[in-house]
């Protein structure tokens, strides 16, 4: 219990430290672009493929269940609401956690192990500002974009399955989506959730990496910790945000 509280406190203080050094400086734009590339752009394949398969399988399963009640025309509603409200942001965040947060934690852990962070401090460069802030910001910016990609692939994957394989009328599918998904309440909230998840995930990952034990074992433990704690935190926060929003 004490350990959990200590961890939470350290995490909060680290977050404050990141926020206090958010102000842009020379060269920080370039660092941010490089992080966005490695954290965001290179996560596109896994997120797109993941989204497409989630859409396919939800369409299939939803159709099986809904036809029992003769309500297969509500497939678009089922898919749209569950994707935008829960599955889109959460699954994109879990994929992001495994794909990007692990590498963030490992990079920072290795920088700690090889004394690069100390070297930055010796040169009077704030290591948080130079190494941590770009990663954090990249996470916050990349997560909503990845969520949009995930949802788009899931919705279009679902429509392919529904229309071509199951023989549903495309008009019904899209009309059900447009009739039931609210732009602000459902669609907008997905991006709010995604930004929150992005911030929390990259905070956890950078914290774990930055404070890793300066050994090989410490780096691997930090990477594992970042993924495990990040995934749990996403699921917990999703429950909290859903209870708040809906």
């Amino acid at each position: 219990m004490r350990e959990i509280l200590r961890q939470l406190g350290a995490l909060g203080l680290f977050g404050l430290r990141i926020i206090s050094s958010l102000a842009p400086q020379r060269g920080s734009g370039h660092d941010l672009v490089r992080q966005l590339y490695s954290v965001g752009a290179r996560s596109i394949p896994i997120v797109a493929v993941g989204g497409a398969f989630v859409g396919l399988v939800m369409s299939l399963q939803g159709y099986r269940t809904l036809t029992t009640f003769g309500a297969s025309n509500a497939l678009g509603t089922l898919l749209g609401l569950s994707l935008f409200r829960e599955l889109g942001p959460v699954l994109a965040a879990l994929l992001f956690c495994g794909r990007a947060c692990s590498s963030m934690a490992a990079e920072l852990g290795l920088m700690r192990t090889t004394d690069q962070i100390t070297a930055l401090e010796m040169m009077a460069i704030d290591p948080v500002r130079k190494a941590v802030v770009p990663r954090f910001l990249a996470g916050v910016i990349a997560m909503p974009i990845l969520t949009a990609v995930f949802c788009a692939f899931a919705i279009f994957g679902g429509s392919v399955q529904a229309v071509w394989v199951l023989g549903l009328d495309p008009g019904h599918y899209w009309a059900a989506l447009q009739g039931s998904v609210s732009l602000v309440d459902d669609y907008g909230q997905a991006f709010v959730k995604a930004a929150v998840f992005g911030a929390v995930l990259s905070l956890i990952a950078t914290h774990a990496g930055y404070h890793a034990q300066p050994t090989i074992e410490g780096t691997s433990r930090a990477t594992t910790g970042a993924v495990v704690q990040g995934s749990l935190m996403v699921l917990f926060l999703d429950f909290l945000l859903s209870a708040l929003f809906y």
């Binding site: 752009a41 949009a148 990609v149 788009a152 919705i155 989506l177 447009q178």
Partner: protein, 167 residues
């Protein structure tokens, strides 16, 4: 140079996906859909009518329920309807009824246009209304003999409540 191009493509792809999603699978079109005006209507019973329920004429959606509140003096419900101006002006003696889509479907408001030359403007009230039909009451009346089962009118809404309520 490579990361810059990659990030640019990434952000473009993200915005493209977000826009495509917004237009293909949310109600953005009905929100952008031009000018609208609102009218009110009083009902003595809303049944399961909810916010954002559709308002239809001849089965075509022309607006939605924007607000529902209770009149604290008369204990009836005041419903604000946001109607699209594209649907054309409604005659002032149009009537509104709360219908059900299918036997167990969602409630919606059906408007039957009247014949008067005057039209409903922003903030006007639809005077002729018909409340929701509560299925349990109907069944109760039918079973316990209030609604003479011999006549073809036995299950009509008129047996439950007066079909038009005077304001």
């Amino acid at each position: 140079m490579k990361p810059e191009i990659g990030v640019g493509a990434f952000i473009l792809l993200g915005f493209g996906c977000a826009l495509a999603l917004a237009f293909s699978s949310t109600d953005v079109r009905s929100r952008l859909g031009g000018a609208s005006y609102s009218v009110t209507a009083r009902f003595s019973n809303l049944g399961e009518l909810r916010l954002r329920a559709p308002v239809k004429i001849a089965g075509v959606k022309i607006g939605e329920v924007a607000d529902i509140r209770l009149d604290p003096e008369r204990y009836d419900a005041i419903v604000s309807l946001r109607l699209s101006a594209d649907a054309g002006a409604l005659p002032a003696d149009s009537s509104a009824a709360i219908n059900t889509a299918g036997l167990l479907g969602e409630r919606y408001i059906a408007i039957s246009p009247g014949g008067e030359l005057e039209v409903l403007g922003d903030g006007d009230e639809i005077v002729l209304t018909q409340s929701a039909i509560v299925l349990e009451n109907l069944i109760g009346k039918y079973m316990f003999g209030n609604g003479k089962p011999g006549t073809p009118d036995a299950t009509a809404p008129g047996a439950d409540s007066p079909s038009t309520e005077t304001p």
